[in-house]
């Protein structure tokens, strides 16, 4: 079953097109990443999924329920962690979670609330007023609020922005467990290593359009090869190797340092031989696999250059 069905969604604000006909299907049980630079339309898309923004054109369905015409059933199936760090200063953590349960029509939900608090390391803050919590703790409560009704679809809009390593680990452990138990997870993040580690499939947005939609393996395959980073103690990079340079790190003031693009590990020896022949002496060398960041930069670069959607 399709967990989230996004059909040709368009949204404009005073002439600015924030979403330009976005279509996506996210399957049940997926861990899906929604990536893109600032202003790409990620939060607008998530707000549309959550019913906080109404699309000008197109529709969004959660487990088959339209978020506008059948909003009650759609929202019952959805838990959203908003990007903004918002809280109600009148209540304690436990009161906040009990109220949120009630809004979703669930009473006597303390067993699950306790479990969520335990899994997010919030138990000892249960009776503390929201105002007294640190930013990281408030973020945990936001996550807990999105989970109080055990939604089959969980949307996290930059849940780890500005939070410490401990929360990230706690959060990902819990979210991964929920995903293993069958919950669909949609994540937006600027931390691409998080997306690479967690997501099975990724959509990249740029200026309101989907410019890439593929499995993580599929995306990683798109950037062939790796990077060989060499730091030369003596000599300079021979002209014959110049076409392989992807980053001339000398521009960053890092001395005689170059990133060379290679397609297979066997090419390393050939490059070293060329360097020896030219009299250059390698001081330090590092072989780096292509990662999501390389792909992201490449795809965003292609999109900027107008090479079309992938």
């Amino acid at each position: 079953m399709t967990a989230i069905q996004i059909n040709s969604v368009e949204k404009s604000y005073k002439g600015f097109k924030a979403l330009k006909g976005v279509s996506l299907n996210i399957e049940q049980g997926e861990f899906f990443g929604l990536l893109g630079p600032n202003g790409a339309g990620k939060t607008t898309l998530i707000s549309t999924i959550a019913g906080l923004i109404r699309p000008d054109v197109g529709s969004v369905k959660i487990h088959g329920h339209d978020v506008v015409t059948d909003f009650r059933n759609a929202r019952k199936n959805l838990g959203v962690v908003p990007q903004e760090l918002v809280f109600d200063p009148f209540f304690t953590v436990r009161e906040t979670l009990r109220l949120q349960s009630g809004y979703f029509g669930i009473k006597n939900n303390d067993a699950w609330i306790d479990e969520v608090m335990h899994n997010l390391d919030l138990t000892n803050k249960a009776d503390v007023n929201m105002r007294a919590l640190s930013g990281g703790m408030k973020r945990r409560v936001l996550v807990a609020q999105a989970l109080v009704h055990k939604p089959p679809v969980i949307v996290l809009d930059e849940p780890t922005a500005g939070v410490d390593v401990e929360l990230r680990q706690t959060l990902w452990k819990f979210i991964s467990r929920l995903n293993r138990e069958g919950h669909t997870v949609v994540l937006t993040t600027h931390y691409l290593e998080e997306a690479e580690a967690m997501c099975q499939r990724v959509a990249m947005l740029k200026l309101g359009e989907v410019v890439a939609l593929d499995s993580m393996q599929g995306l990683l395959r798109r950037v062939s090869g790796s990077q060989l980073i060499v730091h030369l103690k003596e000599g300079t990079l021979p002209e014959g190797l110049r076409p392989l340079v992807s980053h001339d790190e000398n521009e960053n003031g890092k001395g005689n340092r170059y990133s060379l693009r290679i397609n297979a590990p066997g090419e390393v020896e050939a490059i070293l031989a060329r360097l020896r022949e030219s009299g250059a002496v390698v001081d330090e060398m590092q072989l780096q696999q292509a990662d999501l960041e390389d792909i992201f930069l490449q795809i965003m670069g292609d999109a900027k250059a107008g090479k079309g959607a992938l």
Partner: protein
């Protein structure tokens, strides 16, 4: 859809808890204000003004002050809750769950009614010591108190949705609610006004709420309580329709 759904009850409870947690500001302060009005106006005008035959000015003033407190606090409850939630961003906690427009409106209005009645009861309990009051038709007291609070609670929802900042809400309160309440006969009978202002008063829906409420105490009023009830009910229906329409459209809530 059930009006007593868990969602409605929870939002209603949350709104009650919200004002109860700051009861000094939301309950005690308005009671003190009303008491000061009574002490000052009652002391100055007692014996000089007789609005209804056989009814002292202080006795006349008490129902007016009670109703004014009910109305102003009912408005303050829903409007301040909504604007605070909008500005701090926590309104998203209400917008993400499957709460219907009716549930949201009823919860905010019901909590406003409760706060209005609690403050009104408090004002009455304090001010009643200063005057001899009768209860000629107690049912009218309850009907107009509840209906008046519901109207102002609904108006508070509309103002809270419309306003983008506290300044705009303050303008709504100071330039609309406050004058309409003061000019509705809290401190006087409209029969003591010149003809033109008497006519103008008949276009003020607040006048009917206060006049009908006062009828419950003295059995006498400027106009028939049935007429007041009809006018106030229509006013409530119109405001409720506007509020529901705003919530349904997501006006300034869902973009």
């Amino acid at each position: 859809m059930s009006f007593v759904s868990v969602g409605f009850r929870t939002l209603f409870y949350k709104e009650m808890l919200r004002f109860w947690k700051v009861a000094t500001q939301t309950i005690a302060a308005p009671i003190l204000t009303a008491m000061l009005y009574l002490l000052i106006f009652g002391h100055v005008l007692e014996g000089r003004v007789e609005v209804y035959p056989g009814v002292s000015y202080t006795a006349f003033l008490v129902p007016g002050l009670v109703m004014m407190s009910v109305l102003q606090n009912a408005f303050a409850n829903s409007s301040s809750s909504l604007i605070q939630s909008k500005i701090t961003g926590n309104l998203v906690f209400i917008l993400l769950p499957p709460l219907s427009h009716w549930e949201i409106l009823l919860a905010y209005v019901s909590a406003s009614v409760v706060r209005g009645l609690v403050v009104g009861a408090g004002v009455f309990a304090i001010t009643a010591w200063f005057a001899h009051l009768s209860f000629a038709a107690p049912l009218w007291i309850i009907v107009f108190a509840v209906l008046g609070a519901a109207i102002l609670g609904t108006l508070g929802v509309i103002a809270g949705i419309w306003a983008d900042k506290f300044d705009q809400l303050a303008a709504f309160q100071n330039f609309l609610i406050m004058p309409a309440t003061f000019l509705a006969g809290v401190f006087y009978s409209i029969h003591s006004l010149p003809g033109f202002w008497q006519a103008v008063s008949h276009f003020n829906p607040f006048f009917y709420m206060i006049d009908g409420f006062r009828h419950g105490f003295f059995g006498t009023s400027d106009i028939s309580p049935w007429t007041s009830l009809a006018i106030v009910s229509v006013f409530f229906a119109v405001l409720a329709a506007i509020a529901i329409n705003l919530l349904q459209r997501g006006y300034k809530l869902r973009h």
